[in-house]
Symmetry: C2
Subunit: 431 residues, 2 copies
């Protein structure tokens, strides 16, 4: 079995018992076998000089639509409904398999190079997405998001496709790929259709994912259409009877927050997307205080417009202070947990990823700390949160395999991806 000994590194473990270790880590196969101040006594290990590097768990992006990266910058300065219905959907209607492939690949290389090792992806043509994830060596929690604003036979066909995908790919790529079921949102799926998707999730024993309470308009519409707000609506339909992850959760009442906490629902906070689309600022300090697992997502590159989770971490640490007026809201360590430990909890993989700890999966990143913004080298967690960037990531490992070396993806041809993504967008924008 392959062994890697990282010598004399600084390890930001995200393990409360010992958040920072200056010492040594040994990877054996796909797991962390040793982590200590003391040097190990082992033989037959490749060695990596850890000086000048800070190692930490790979970041976990809990809400993305990767293939939309082809639409980066295509529609700025619009509100959510216009952006979605007048800009995104018409372009996405023209997508071919090639667009899904190269759009996803573009997102995957952007994420990997910026230190994201696992991500949740909700989109269609998911077999293609899964193939790209498998090839690139990344970890994915993948789901075919279904929109139910269509005739019953189309609804059924989409549901079957989503189930088939969830069945086919769960546990594939050596366990790196897992699956979920996803109604796109309460406002794009009739209640009976959501109920059928929940039933399928029970049948397949997979978690549920959806967009929820992203904009005030959508919450109002829900009240108009169904007589209650989205949280109660989903609860009544049984959504929270399965492990569930809801994206956004911007507009929540105290009662809704309490219910999410009680039901163990995880929230994917997407600060950049929520700000850019003027959806608002989620009540993250209240969610955290209530005990809700709050993770971080980039949303798509079409509403962000980048997939660097370090940006979301910094935003999460900054905006809630400024908006609440409380400078102690969301401290740096909590923000970094949202991008790691809480992300792992949100996708039900907290025993395997999100920390550097003996026995856990070797999903981790190395950051070049010999840069002015990391000096003086004192509070490294603070520095990572308030001064760090995905561009500081030098190496990335997933499942023990090095997928980024010196800033370059090892398993996927970056130049080809950039060229093909450019070609796809040019074709999409011509027709």
């Amino acid at each position: 079995m392959n062994r890697l000994w990282i010598e004399n590194g600084t390890f930001v473990t995200m393990d409360d018992a010992r958040p920072i270790i200056k010492g040594h880590m040994v990877i054996e196969g796909d797991r962390i076998q040793y982590l200590s101040e003391q040097a190990p006594t082992i033989e037959n290990a490749a060695r990596l000089d850890g000086r000048g590097l800070v190692f930490m768990p790979g970041l976990i992006n809990t809400h993305a639509h990767s293939a939309m990266s082809l639409l980066r910058g295509y529609s700025d300065d619009e509100n959510l409904q216009v952006w979605l219905e007048q800009k995104m959907w018409p372009m996405e209607a023209k997508y071919t398999d090639a667009d899904a492939r190269w759009g996803t690949a573009l997102a995957v290389i952007e994420m990997l190079k910026a230190g994201t090792t696992a991500f949740v992806d909700m989109y269609d043509r998911m077999d293609i997405v899964a193939q790209v994830v498998e090839q690139a060596g990344m970890r994915g929690m993948l789901t075919r998001g279904v929109i139910g604003l269509c005739p019953p036979d189309v609804q059924t066909a989409k549901l079957e496709e989503a189930k088939q995908f969830a069945k086919d790919w769960n546990g594939k790529a050596g366990g790196r790929i897992r699956t979920m079921m996803s109604p796109h949102a309460p406002y794009t799926c009739p209640p009976d259709y959501i109920a059928r998707i929940i039933e399928a999730a029970h049948e397949l024993q997979v978690p549920l994912h959806t967009h929820m309470s992203e904009s005030a308009a959508e919450v109002e519409q829900n009240v108009k259409d169904y007589g209650c707000r989205p949280v109660e609506h989903l609860d009544k339909l049984g959504f929270f009877s399965r492990p569930s992850l809801v994206a956004h959760g911007v507009h929540l009442t105290d009662d809704e927050i309490a219910l999410l906490a009680e039901k163990g629902v995880a929230v994917s906070h997407n600060p950049a997307s929520n700000l850019k689309l003027a959806s608002g600022v989620a009540r993250v300090p209240e969610l955290l205080k209530a005990g809700v697992t709050v993770s971080l997502g980039t949303d798509s590159a079409a509403s962000n417009n980048n997939l660097d989770l370090f940006d979301e971490i910094r935003l999460a640490a900054l905006i809630h202070k400024g908006v609440s007026g409380d400078p102690t809201a969301v401290p740096a360590y909590e923000a970094l947990k949202m991008g790691t430990v809480y992300g792992a909890q949100a996708i039900g993989q907290a025993s395997d990823i999100g920390m550097l700890k003996v026995g856990m999966k070797a999903d981790f990143i190395a950051i070049d700390s010999e840069q002015p913004h990391f000096y003086p080298q004192t509070e490294m967690i603070s520095h990572l949160v308030y001064a760090g960037s995905g561009r500081d990531v030098k190496h990335v490992w997933v499942d023990g395999e090095q997928v980024v070396r010196n800033g370059i993806c090892t398993l996927i041809d970056e130049e080809q991806v950039l060229a093909e993504a450019q070609r796809c967008f040019e074709r999409l924008s011509q027709h």
Copy 2:
């Protein structure tokens, strides 16, 4: 005279007449001599292949306290008054010349590498700051910030020092250094002292800079102490009778905004610092609408905690949308102007810097655009604002001289700066 011909580049000019030019730029000495789609007909020029690079004006940081970079991460999660009075001031009281030198050098290399070519610095030991700026090849608008909470003889000594500095260094380093006069803030300077500083600025014909209306508490205190809010207070003292730049301006009424517009006062918006210290969110859309020049500042690394102006540009484009609920607030191009053109206006140098235009100073940067977050290569201004980072900067020129080449400072020894800054902090934190 030295000549540089940049061939086949993409130039984001920030000149409304033609914001993007794909073509050629020629630098002669310290100025842009040619910029066009067509190749020039010149001889005896060094050539640079511009393919894969996006060129734009160097960024202008209009509020900084560089030497405080030694205190990066030293006090997170505190409000402004505690952070300042209990954490910063006691540490700063221990500063020696060496701390000022290496703290400033650390900030300067961080800014240059991240594409900032000009900055406003308000601090003390300004001769040392000016020496570092001169050596590093940067452009500086420097000022000895004075705090008047001291006996009259000390006040006078500080004022004399500030005047002497403003006199000695104005126009030095080949014109790269200019000076201002600065009372630290209305709450740290008695009115008669502010009046004396204004008088000195008139005498020396230099602009004025100060902190103003950063926190709600400070505005309240001003009303209690002087019977009016800070804008009226400064106006009565004659502050705005000189070209003036105020940092923060978070808590402003409609009337105050109107007065700032009428008097031609420029505001340095510091979004990250204001969020981190929970000071609030400045009314930037209203300021811009009123015709106030709004530029961007990082504030010090102790309250940010980085000096990458791309972060401030993105924040400015994001937070005002999310907080106002208007997704069209502060569009990408406007945010980029805040970091360039408006920055130049704020320091009275709009005829020389902030744009790529024939006849202007050659202060510009080259960004490596062959990266996934800049693809598809469509809306480059949007990409720079929403996806760009100081880490994407490859080359930097100031006054026609290349001060960063392939990400490395050419005139200042980065390794030495990091080592000395570390040593300074360790000594400061021991005593």
